[in-house]
């Protein structure tokens, strides 16, 4: 059977900005979920972090390993957290009108086992602080994922956009 991709919902941040981007009541009728995020932060430095929470869980159920590379140096880190780090996005100190390009894949999101998450992310900036990030995450959540909440260090700026897709 051919791969079928359905757009479930899109959120575009308006002129007032937003602290969180929240997809609720996610239908369970797909095999996998993919969430694409293009975003920028209202804070004043060049780079900030973006996070995801599933099913509104804010305890230390998120385990991750990540590789981060800028123009000259690569680093890696791992651990557990109360939210899943999914990448960086530019702040207002970065090149104007640059945004992140973050893609989260959540296979088998309705299963009754822990959820595996993979993320690839680019934080655009026409300078050396231009990050490429890969994250592997595990969420100790055995219920189906029906809510995804995105947050960042500051607020998402206008024109930040997130789209959730369902894959069959």
């Amino acid at each position: 059977m051919a791969l079928q991709i359905y757009k479930i919902a899109t959120i575009e941040v308006g002129s007032g900005g937003s602290s969180t981007i929240d997809f609720t009541s996610i239908p369970s009728g797909y095999t996998d979920l993919v969430l694409d995020l293009s975003s920028r932060d209202t804070l004043t430095s060049t780079q900030y972090e973006v996070f995801a929470r599933f099913n509104n869980i804010s305890t230390s159920v998120y385990t991750y390993n990540r590789m981060v590379s800028d123009a000259s140096t690569g680093t890696s880190a791992g651990g557990s957290d109360t939210k899943l780090f999914i990448g960086n996005h530019p702040g207002s100190g970065a090149t104007a009108s640059t945004f992140s390009n973050i893609s989260i894949t959540i296979p088998n999101y309705t299963s009754s086992i822990n959820k595996l998450v993979s993320v690839d992310a680019i934080s655009s900036n026409n300078a050396s602080t231009n990050y490429l990030i890969f994250t592997a995450g595990v969420t100790s959540e055995t219920a189906a994922i029906n809510r995804i909440t995105l947050s960042c260090n500051g607020n998402f700026t206008q024109y930040s956009m997130a789209t959730l897709y369902g894959i069959l």
Partner: protein, 73 residues
């Protein structure tokens, strides 16, 4: 700026923009504090590494190594 959330109900397609709840604001403050603490640790580690590197380079120079030789290590 009032902290807000943009929320879409994926069943109905309804999009609402609402102020964060008391619980969400509290969580946001916890997250911000954690970020500030971790950044302070990372900044301190970066500064300590730079200081150690400069010290090591100075000691190597005192032993007679040239700047090119130190850079080649």
């Amino acid at each position: 700026m009032t902290a807000t959330a943009i929320e879409v109900n994926c069943e109905t397609g309804e999009v609402i923009e609402r102020p964060l709840t008391v619980e969400e604001i509290a969580q946001r403050e916890v997250d911000a504090a954690a970020f500030a603490a971790r950044k302070a640790e990372e900044d301190a580690a970066t500064a300590a590494a730079a200081t150690a590197k400069a010290s090591a380079q100075a000691k190597l120079a005192a032993l007679g190594l040239t700047a090119a030789e130190i850079a080649a290590l």
